[in-house]
């Protein structure tokens, strides 16, 4: 291994170079700073080459700020344009591994500082460039060749910036325009299986991973780095149902990876065979039967949702790698998907969001709905939620009329219904599902039964522990 004049370790990640300890500042709010990774032909790259256009470190004046652009070229058999952004995102990590070099932000907001200590150990940016490229090639072996150019002259940096902005724009457009139907493969991730054994995470262009950390491009890059690793290709197979997002390839993988616990996963469905929920999802969706709608609550929201339950309680019922009908864990970016729970009405079904989440994703909420979706400021319980939705004429209101009719019919069979509900918590676990125990759900099925002659309960391999049993005589 080549020796570098400074230490390289993840322990320097959080290192700050303060003004007093700084030799020079590169880019940042007072100047221009850019970083860009470009795929290039193998022949066009001279491996490990560092080119410096403008003053090098030794020619810089202590305490000054210089404009800064760094353009990395990567080449290799597996390198393709779609991987550029994924590779680029690692620039931040690898630069920060270098002792005495601080890196903040990305793209055209890059802000770096070189400490006096580190500047004293080298007179050129060359070893720094080589160190970063060494890290890239070690961590991402599909990069076979790599070179970098550092620009420190204002005119040159401006020129690079102009070109780069066009590239970023095109890249964003590509990400936005890429949909499930445009690709042949999706990506699977089993990282969470170490915690949630039956969790099968499927990442498609229209569905980011539940944790929010892996989109389709990330999956693609990771699968290339290590095809046997935790992220891998899923041949999507035949499209079985466009609306729910059911693919034969996903079902095959789901069965295999869950050891047969999960038979089907429909990517864009909330109720029918929804995606499994691991434990690290950013947002959980919950069905509110009283309004036939779906509310969403994010991890950071500390309060209660209108159903009287907070994030942690709902997440507790959702997680563990199971398919829980009525609850769904997602990554925040799934709200931006054009296929967002499209099988169940998409945004028309969204009836509640915490205000902090609503603000964060406001741009993706359809304009005609944004004022119709209440937050904790407008609706804190079912009653106020109902009233708000009714007043604003939320699309779900149309579903209510039909539902009310059904309810009336049900009431006539009330007693029978109760017995069935009572038995449900006992039966559900056997079917491999976790039955959410909602606050409103009857808690003690065994103690009292309907007047219609009692209920029958079957215990098998049960262990019942009763700490304190209170028996009272009937007073009447």
């Amino acid at each position: 291994m080549a020796e570098f004049p400074f230490e390289i370790s993840p322990m320097f990640e959080g290192e700050r170079v303060r003004k007093e300890g700084m030799f020079v500042e590169l880019g940042g709010p007072k100047s221009l700073g850019l970083e860009l990774v470009r795929a290039a032909d193998m022949d066009a790259i001279e491996d490990d080459k560092v080119t410096i256009i403008g003053p090098d470190l030794k020619d810089m004046e202590e305490g000054k700020t210089y404009p800064w652009a760094m353009i990395f070229n990567i080449g290799g058999e597996l390198v393709e344009q779609d991987l550029e952004s994924v590779v680029e995102r690692r620039v931040h990590d690898f630069i920060n591994y270098c002792q005495g070099i601080m890196h903040l932000n990305q793209r055209y907001d890059v802000w770096m500082r070189v400490s006096k200590d580190t500047a004293a150990k080298m007179d050129s940016f060359e070893p720094f460039g080589k160190a970063v490229m060494m890290l890239f090639k070690t961590e991402l072996p599909f990069i076979e060749k790599m070179q970098v150019t550092f620009y420190t002259e204002k005119a040159e940096v401006e020129k690079q910036l102009e070109t780069a902005k066009e590239i970023f724009k095109a890249r964003d457009l590509r990400t936005k325009d890429l949909h499930d139907e445009d690709v042949d493969v999706f990506y699977g991730c089993t990282l969470c299986q170490s915690f949630a054994p039956t969790n099968v995470c499927v990442v498609s262009p229209d569905r980011v991973s539940l944790c929010g950390a892996i989109n389709w491009f990330d999956g693609r890059a990771a699968a290339k780095v290590d095809p046997e690793g935790p992220q891998f290709e899923i041949a999507k197979g035949d499209l079985l149902d466009a609306s729910t997002g059911e693919y034969s390839g996903i079902n095959v993988v789901a069965k295999k990876l869950s050891s047969n616990d999960i038979q089907k996963i429909k990517l864009h469905s909330f109720f029918d065979c929804p995606h499994t929920s691991c434990g690290c999802f950013e947002v959980v969706g919950f069905y509110i039967p009283e309004v036939e709608g779906i509310g969403w609550v994010n991890r950071e929201y500390q309060g209660m949702a209108p159903n009287g339950i907070g994030f942690s309680t709902m997440a507790g019922q959702t997680g563990g790698g199971k398919q829980i009908v009525g609850f769904l864990g997602i990554g925040v970016n799934y709200f931006y998907s054009p296929k967002f729970i499209q099988a169940d009405g998409g945004w028309d079904r969204v009836v509640w969001l915490p205000s902090m989440l609503k603000e964060k994703i406001a741009e993706t909420i359809p304009a005609d709905l944004i004022d119709k979706i209440p937050t904790e400021k407008e609706a804190t319980d079912i009653q106020s939620l109902k009233a708000f939705l009714e007043e604003k004429k939320h699309p779900v209101v149309a579903r209510w009329a039909a539902a009310e009719e059904e309810e009336e019919e049900e009431e006539e069979e009330e007693e029978e219904e109760e017995v069935a509900t009572a038995a449900a918590p006992m039966m559900m676990p056997a079917a491999g599902y976790q039955m959410p125990s909602m606050a409103s759900m009857p808690m003690m099925p065994m103690m009292s039964a309907g007047k219609a002659g009692g209920i029958k309960i079957t215990f098998k391999k049960a262990k019942i522990s009763i700490e304190r049993m209170v028996i009272s005589e009937k007073k009447e």
């Binding site: 949630a196 009692g454 262990k463």
Partner: protein, 807 residues
Amino acid sequence: MSKLSTGSFSIEDLESVQITINNIVGAAKAVAETKAVAETTGPMGPTPFPSIATLRDWNFTLFDRYEPVYTPMCDQCCYCTFGPCNLEGNKRGACGIDMKGQTAREFFLRCITGCACHSAHGRHILNHLVDLFGEDMPINMGASNVIAPNIQLVTGQQPKTLGDLKPIMEYVEEELGQLLATIHAGQEAAAIDYDNKAMFAGMLDHVGMEVSDIAQVTSLGFPKSDPEAPLVETGIGTLDASKPIIIAIGHNVAGVTYIMDYMEEHDLTDKMEIGGLCCTAFDMTRYKREDRKAPYAKIVGTISKELKVVRSGIPDVIVLDEQCVRADLVVEGQKLKIPVIASNEKIMYGLPDRTNDNVDEIVADLVSGKIPGCVMLDYDKLGELVPKVAMAMAPIRDAEGLTAIPTDEEMKVLVSKCVECGECALACPEELEIPEAIAIAKGGDYSALEELHDLCIGCRRCEQVCNKEIPVLNLIEKASLKAISEEKGLVRAGRGQVSDAEIRAEGLNLVMGTTPGVIAIIGCSNYPAGTKDVYNIAEEFLNRNYIVAVSGCSAMDIGMFKDADGKTLYERFPGRFERGNLLNTGSCVSNAHISGTAHKVAAIFAGRTLSGNLAEIADYTLNRVGAVGLAWGAYSQKAAAIGTGCNIFGIPAVLGPHSGKYRRALIAKTYDESKWKLYDSRNGSEMAIPPSPEFLITTAETWQEATVMMAKNCIRVSDNSMGRSIKLTHWLELSEKYLGILPDDWWKFVRNEADLPLAKREMLLKMLEAERGWEIDWKKKKIMSGPKIKFDVSAQPTNLKRLCKEA
């Protein structure tokens, strides 16, 4: 359903059903029925309310790999009148017990003593708070669903109110009685069964601690899962000696809250000082601070500071409760006219009980010196008595200039008396070079004495052996007056539990391995080389993005040191359960929240059944949660119980060198490959695992060695490549940094090239090729053959055959 209040039901087809009914009470209200059953929501594991034998299988599974290693402190057993029996050289005593059995019994005795302390504290404060707020007061630990992870794990109960904690306490007390009985001669023979009981006692300890802290966090307005709990001034230098000063010592804040209420009601908070030593101090600064207002109460320090603070003459009154209170405070206080008020039945010090007397009469008796102190168990009176005594004593004591610290002239005389016989150095538990320091002081240079100040644990053993009756401690303190006046730090008030939401958010990093581990620094102040060790360790791990969780006395000492910018670690690192964060859970009983965090990861993040499911959750933690505890200055029986409790929960613990005196370690043979196998629960097949953690409880000699050990033992079989690579990076770097060598067994943890530290990958690949004969494809930089352990991210490692799907 609520409409159905009557009816009948029949049960048919019972198969292997065990119904345990603990307590049946007739003729109460029907609503209570609903409550009793509602408590047991969710699925139940196989071991709710375990007794000694219930978890023996699990403990034996652990002992199979982590073998008990005994280090007897003495060769004799003096337990009964048959003895004393010499057990040296495999001899058995008169009752038939052997050395291993006796040593295991001694260790076990420490564990139940510690457990009894926390539980008795819990019982006292629970009864007190139920009296004040009623049984129906709902438990409030912040925005979490799992509010009592230890209680739920062990008993299967999910308490909702203060009253629900009572049966939990009863359970702990019942089991403690059963355990204590086995200390008796002729009650147990095998060492390993004492070890099983020790583990069981450790487990009960965490339940007892959890009850204590849940009760007080709920009712006393403590911060509730608050990462931004306020910062508290800490250190003797923060006390304003010009004001009357109350010093509270111990662990149970119940009585002190009345003193604080009185101070607030009478507008005295800025007219007098209240500071605490040991964990009462922490709980004083949590009292009514859920609003994040900076506390006026101060944390003075640990048990090592008790005698030093008294000798300084600063306190105008001392109020005691229970645990970690020096036994000589009345004697020491009397010399300097510092009245001592005992507020808890557990420590009454031979003082007159004045509970039923008029407060002003007691004040008069204390001020006149008629009594050196008193017992006061009525907290309303205590609240009034203590501030009044402080205000009455302060002018008197100031006028007399009462302090044990010698004047410059006296100092010269005392120093010159020393004949450098060396008795003090022999008696010193820290083996401090006292005679040398005094010899230097004879020439007028007190710097060597000053250096002893931070190393000295304030035990006074030196003074008692001094042939010339030199008050050695006073000399050290005299030499350190400037340093002491500058002892000002900051510590974050105890935040309570880690919230469910934090577990969920951090779970991702635990899975990805971008958080290399959780380091829990807990326990007391019997450090081998001064208080700075714990600061150094915490800073090193925080810089490396570990989660550092702290509690109790270590949490105080960590806050006493500052960086170049004058900032403490609590100011530099935020207090969430997140990588690169420093979270203080609170006092000694808040340790339950650290172990509870591990249970929560398994229960919340992995969706495992928590209730009554200890073996499965502990197995999960042992195999997947890279957490290591450190009790660097462990001195107490409580520390033994806390650490042993962590062990049964699958969390390894490192102790300081003094902890060899606990007499028992649990250490695995890393060379014995047969011990490093688990089942893959997907199909029951055997899988080889790397040798980590390599111990459950052991000691390290230096803080540098401990640091390297902890980094290594954060490695877990389930690490993915990114996680393993990060963990190896830190371990190797720390080993090179502090021990000057690359460890000789790092290769055992390498499954493929992606596991290797990024910056050293090429060098290590070369070493693997040259030294271990592994085959490397240099073009792809890939390991082709060599590793014995295969990496499968979806593998489900477990020690428990019963969790395996049938092959």
